[in-house]
Amino acid sequence: MRTLPFLLAAWLLFVGLYGIATSRNFVHLIMCLSVVQSSTYVLLLEVGYRAGGTAPIFKDVPPGTRAVDPVVQALTLTDVVVGVTVTALLLALVLQSHKRSGTLNPDELRPLEG
């Protein structure tokens, strides 16, 4: 029980990497990259978790209540924003590549083409 949540992050990382390595479609590949990235969200939040801790927001609960680490939550927020923008950028690249080469399959792209 102590390490099982961390293994979830590892599983997400490797299942995403497997998807990237075997992908036959750029859109699928980008989604696999998002899966890899989501493993970092899971890992960050797990590292900052305190057993029995609440969210680090002291609006309804009195200050001093046992709460989880706010720093990793802030890092996860950064991570999510960067993930979204990188996904948009990669999709734009794929769109233009598809227009030039007519394919979404990385294997069918030749070097220095498209």
Binding site: A10, Y49, R50, P56, F58, K59, A74, L77, V81, K99
Partner: protein, 250 residues
């Protein structure tokens, strides 16, 4: 490289990486046994120091504010890059979609989608503004609220025609909004420098903890980020829709 060789290579690399990851994970404190010190310190000092009940927001916009400037510009540059990549190329031109087959008519948007969509536009704007304005007191903030605000133009697209969407979304105003959002953050930071203290130092009046007007620079920064994220996401959506619906090859 054949698929088989690639898989074999991946297998070797992944096995080695997996061993490293498992070795690393076995050394960190167990789940729930938080081993850091920043979490304890911040949860104790953030509320008295910054009068912000949302400690995550005070980390993002204050204690780690300088990093958030960098993050904001990652967003800004990506939106610019998407616009640049999806500009109309030399051998393309803009043309409204026209169905080639004369006898085929596209099914229009169903009434159910229209009614539900129209009903959701107002609440999306309201919830977005609420989340932006209360980011420093309750869960939320500029990034989250901006994303919700960007849903409103998407709903307009969903319930109407694309050309209506295009008219209702003045691209230049969105560009200005995005730039103002990114620049506003830096300007707030520079005010600290002008006052003779550090960049982004929170010296503004702190107010009563838990109220909308509290926590000094935090609400201002949240509004600025909300503007940037909302405008940026709509710009990205606009570029992709433009590609699908308007831009045609020669």
């Amino acid at each position: 490289m054949s698929v088989r060789t690639r898989l074999a290579l991946f297998g070797v690399g992944a096995a080695a990486a997996l061993a490293l990851v498992v070795w690393g994970l076995s050394g960190i404190p167990g789940f729930g046994h938080y081993g850091g010190s920043y979490g304890y310190v911040l949860n104790r000092v953030a509320l008295p120091e910054r009068h912000a009940t949302n400690v995550v927001a005070s980390v993002v916009f204050d204690y780690r504010g300088f990093d958030t400037v960098g993050e904001e510009f990652i967003l800004f540059v990506s939106v610019m890059a998407v616009s640049l990549l999806l500009r109309i190329q030399r051998d393309e031109r803009e043309r409204p979609p026209r169905d080639r087959a004369a006898e085929r008519t596209l099914a229009g948007t169903s009434d159910a989608v229209r009614v539900a969509g129209v009903g959701l536009i107002g609440p999306a704007v309201l919830i977005g503004l609420y989340i932006v304005a209360h980011g420093h007191t309750t869960p939320g903030g500029g990034f989250q609220g901006g994303a919700i605000l960007a849903a409103a133009p998407m709903l307009i697209y969903l319930v109407g025609r694309y050309l209506t969407f295009r008219r209702l979304n003045p691209i230049h105003a969105l560009d200005v909004g995005e730039g103002a959002g990114a620049g506003g953050f830096v300007v707030v930071g520079l005010i600290g420098l002008v006052a003779g203290i550090a960049f982004l130092d929170n010296i503004w009046p702190k107010g009563q903890p838990g109220s909308v007007f509290s926590a000094g620079t935090l609400p201002v920064l949240n509004v600025s980020v909300g503007l940037e994220v909302g405008a940026g996401l709509v710009l990205i959506l606009f570029e992709f829709l433009e590609q699908t619906l308007m831009v045609r090859g020669r």
